[in-house]
């Protein structure tokens, strides 16, 4: 399972990425996740990601990110504001879970 996080510069998502990874480890699921800024999505998207998650603070760019994801045939979801904290690993995991193959 590979999840690509998208925020403004890839900085804040890194914190949330760690929360998700920790929860996945707890559940015994192999999870790869990385954070990038919106300008890098287009270059990054073809690198084998299974899911794209867009941070709440760049939700005004959600449509443009989704368009890129759609073109690559990868599901794209917005992260709820409440799930975007270091403590929200479990809620975030719930959101990601259904995409685990």
């Amino acid at each position: 399972m590979k999840v690509l996080f998208v925020c403004a510069g890839g900085m804040s998502s890194a914190i949330v990425v760690n929360a998700l990874k920790k929860e996945a480890e707890k559940q015994g699921v192999a999870m790869e996740a990385e954070a990038v800024g919106t300008p890098s999505v287009e270059d990054e998207i073809r690198n084998g990601w299974n899911l794209v998650l867009v941070a709440p603070q760049v939700r005004h760019r959600f449509d443009s990110v989704k368009a890129i994801a759609d073109e690559a045939g990868i599901p794209c979801e917005a992260i709820a504001p409440r799930s975007y904290t270091p403590m929200a690993g479990p809620t975030l995991y719930q959101q990601v879970k259904e995409y685990i193959k």
């Binding site: 900085m11 804040s12 603070q57 760049v58 005004h60 443009s64 409440r82 270091p86 403590m87 479990p90």
Partner: protein, 436 residues
């Protein structure tokens, strides 16, 4: 209150955020951002040339004697930043049109260079006045970069290109395709600059000078500060929106101050480059939340508030505050939105006055924004210890502005935790939607 907040989000912050995503504005934003590493590194040579050490020391004297040489990396990066920005804007705009980004970047650079008339000197032959490629040339850069890529696009859309037979290799035919649009851009720019002798740089300078003056005034500082936190209060990345519009002007201030430092001027021309906001106002992130996070972690009693405060403390030290903005939450939480907006306005006032009356040196160096504020403030002012004091004072002020509001929120959360035994579950879910 909640319906009012909802109304603002739907009618105001949402549409404005989408406006900032407009193609040309985004291209300018990404183009300017692409030059930042060169500005950050280039500006550090100002500190090396004028180290914050006692005047009498040998090393200080040595640096002063060799300032011109030490500053060469600065002259070739930050001092001519428009050259880098032109390529970045041309690249980004072409990419957004799904055209060859390399051609876009190159044609933008050509257009910028052709806005300048080289001078002939006896010793050096042809010479480009480097200042035209600096911060002051940024507005010309923005306009000609966008227009030259539009010419490329026009030619492509109208099929005004030299078509090669399909047997010709792709890279060869692409270079031919670019011939006509490149000729058009070069032709237009040559007619403007050489044939008509129009000096775009002085023309644009006159045009934007009211904006440049206004943006450095007290009100010119308060407005971007307000809008940055206003957007964040709705959970939208405020700097990403406000910076799209304001960053070119902020770069003019920063490069102007840096040039003054490099020339050994005693008084710097501008108060408010982006670094002013970064190190004196956005301490801990937008909304000056380091004071808030300290109060949450060490003074409050509710388990939830404490836990969010502690987990946000370390990121906050490095000016990353999404954890507290979405965790506390501040977003759409009227109680915390108020100090989140007020506190930066107060810090801006204090910092503006302190800089204006000469208590603190204006900023001229751009350290990476993830440094702790006192360190960043010290470096950014070229080593002024009073900037460290100002940063610390501002952290204290924001702490006390957040405190009363936070106290109310803390009591509310405490009461909820008492009646509702599911504290731990709430902690795990970070679910506080019920509370606002």
């Amino acid at each position: 209150m909640n319906s009012f907040v909802d109304f603002l989000d739907r009618r105001f912050s949402g549409p404005m955020a989408r406006l900032a995503e407009q193609r040309h504005l985004s291209a300018i934003r990404d183009g300017v951002i692409s030059a930042l590493p060169f500005i950050i590194i280039g500006s550090f040579f100002l500190i090396i040339a004028f180290p914050p050490l006692p005047q009498g020391w040998e090393i200080t004297k040595w640096c002063a004697d060799h300032a011109a040489q030490i500053l060469i990396p600065y002259r070739m990066t930050m001092y001519i930043m428009s050259l880098y920005v032109a390529f970045g804007i041309g690249y980004s705009l072409s990419k957004s049109y799904k055209m060859d980004p390399l051609s876009g970047g190159q044609v933008a650079v050509a257009a910028l260079l052709l806005s300048i008339v080289p001078e002939v000197t006896k010793d050096f032959g042809f010479v480009i006045p480097m200042a035209d490629l600096g911060g002051a040339g940024l507005f010309v850069t923005m306009v000609v970069s966008l227009l030259s890529v539009e010419v490329l696009r026009f030619c492509k859309a109208k099929n005004v290109t030299i078509k090669m037979p399909s047997s010709v290799p792709d890279s060869v035919s692409r270079s031919f395709e670019a011939l006509i649009p490149v000729a058009l851009v070069i032709g237009i720019m040559t007619i403007i600059t050489v044939v008509f002798g129009v000096d775009l740089h002085s023309l644009m300078g006159k045009l934007v000078s009211p904006i440049v003056t206004a943006g450095d005034s007290y009100l010119g500082v308060l407005i971007p500060v307000f809008f940055t936190t206003f957007f964040w209060a709705f959970g939208i990345h405020g700097i990403a929106i406000v910076g799209t519009v304001a960053r070119p002007i902020w770069e003019v201030y920063l490069t102007g101050n840096a040039a003054a430092v490099a020339d050994g001027a005693s008084k710097l021309p501008y108060i408010a480059p982006e670094t002013f906001y970064q190190w004196f106002i956005w301490i801990g992130g937008s909304g000056s939340t380091l004071g808030l996070v300290i109060a949450m972690a060490f003074v409050m009693r509710s388990k939830y508030v404490k836990a969010v405060g502690r987990s946000s403390l370390l990121p906050g030290l490095f000016n990353i505050n999404e954890p507290v903005i979405f965790g506390a939450p501040i977003v759409l939480n009227p109680l915390l939105m108020i100090p989140f907006i007020i506190s930066p306005l107060v810090l801006a006032t204090v910092a503006y006055i302190a800089t204006d009356i000469g208590l603190v040196t204006p900023t001229s160096v751009m350290p990476p924004w993830t440094l702790p504020a006192p360190i960043g403030a010290y470096l950014s002012t070229g080593g002024d210890w009073r900037a460290v004091v100002l940063a610390l004072v501002n952290i204290a002020i924001s702490f006390f502005i957040y405190l009363p509001f936070l106290k109310i929120y803390d009591l509310k959360m405490l009461a909820e935790e008492k009646t509702d035994g599911k504290t731990d579950a709430a902690l795990n879910q970070s679910g506080t939607t019920e509370s606002f």
